[in-house]
Symmetry: C3
Subunit: 203 residues, 3 copies
């Protein structure tokens, strides 16, 4: 299981790097800029989480394989740019799988550091979405969490479910599966039916 | 006194969260986006200070009551949105009280970690203003510290006064009061008379 | 040598502060805003590096002389604003010397903390360019690393050369000189001949 999870983490990092590298399309973009965006998108969330929790070394600094996953993702984005842009819809599925998986991993990481459940839920969401937020801030875009249909809230819902089932004693692997699945379902329904949270009243 | 100060900190966090949640008004805004903005505004300054000083756990991670203050602030912003926007002037008073109080708390926190007075002054100012700066960066606004009449400089002046009186042996509570008051006065005068620092010459 | 290097670090900080303070020219700018920009530009890269590596205290918090260098740089920018803007070309030379020197210092700092060479190269580049990136994000500019002809890539090339020569046992001072020089040469050639990396294909 541990090996399987480790491979999933590297794979998630790879997909996040592709999505980050593709995000640069509207700007003056070169291989370095795209690589930097891929890097930031892939490691931003986990890095912010670990810095806030004071957990060192950062994952990608302690294990250089994550860098290789990012390099691979950026190269794939470079060589298959046209096809990836065309199949943006397909690609969104990977983003959804990525945020659902990384949310739960972030919750688990926070729990091992003995924080309150509320903090663990926030850390799970941060792990999933803050890489994209930092990427958007760097390119002067409105951050993804303010822009889209229910996105970060989907992550939060899965994080909360994980914590409830965790307290209820549900085995970890079943919990990981069910909670990730909730995130995927909420997100897919939100996109399909354009669901959004209530907005602040305009005057 | 300690209990009184703790309640003031929670109250300050509450007001910062309201001000952050209201800041989202011009953007596509939903309850999550506003909550996120309130959260960032409230904890951003202290978080940056503690990360720079290597002081763990971060205040809001070690004590979950600060999260509850933020939730309360965001809900108040949501349900009383119209009235709060109308009374923006009134609300600015709370912002001023908030930055004056958090500046001095930030200076004191830095001093307990044995940094030089110059660093403590900067950390005090950071505690007060960086939450708003991060909020503005996230919404692509010009950060508050570049925009307004004397703002961060008011915080710096109070921080410097606190450090001078501290060296002079003035009791802590009197010092807290006088130094906070200086920040309030400088800020209020700056807004009233549109005071600004000298600008760089344009060519 | 140590004293000489320490003076170079203070001098580099001084030049970065000037370049940061000048960057505010197009915005509503006052002495505080310019000072803040100078500060962020000068300490941003090293601060991010040390926070990511968990290396405390941060350089400028542990040694207040760096703050004085920044104050001096901002004052020079203020009093000699017109001449500095006119001689922007001359000034670019100092920026180039600054990033080349800080890249290698960043690599060396990372190596003393026992990270992999790939990480050390990234940390060297971060030390040199992230102060400018944070400055640009704060003023809603497109960050320097996405904008210019080869910039961060020049830093990376010097960092990689340093690591190769380091492995090959080349003495440190010679290595510092040669690797810094490569950064300067790549950067100067890039500006002169408008060299850029291959871009992602537009559809």
């Amino acid at each position: 299981m541990t090996n399987f999870q480790y491979m999933l983490e590297l794979l998630g990092t790879f997909f996040f790097a592709i999505s980050g590298a593709l995000a640069i399309q509207d700007h003056h973009n070169d291989l370095f800029g795209a690589g930097f965006m891929g890097f930031v998108t892939a490691i931003g969330g986990g890095t912010l989480r670990d810095i806030m929790l004071g957990s060192y070394p950062l994952v990608w600094i302690g294990d250089v394989h994550f860098l290789y996953s990012i390099f691979a993702g950026v190269l794939v984005a470079y060589f298959f740019y046209s096809s990836l842009i065309v199949h943006k819809r397909t690609f969104m599925i990977f983003d959804t799988l990525g945020i659902s998986f990384f949310t739960i991993l972030g919750v688990e990481k926070a729990l091992t550091l003995n924080v309150e459940p509320e903090i663990a839920a926030i850390m799970g969401m941060f792990t999933a979405v803050m890489g994209g937020v930092i990427r958007d801030v760097l390119t002067n875009e409105t951050p993804v969490i303010f822009r889209r249909e229910i996105y970060a809230t989907a992550c939060l819902s899965g994080a909360v479910l994980y914590l409830i089932l965790y307290r209820a004693g549900v085995p970890r692997d079943a919990n990981l599966l069910v909670s990730s699945l909730l995130i995927v379902i909420v997100r897919v329904l939100a996109v399909k039916y354009k669901l959004a949270l209530p907005t602040f009243r305009k005057m």
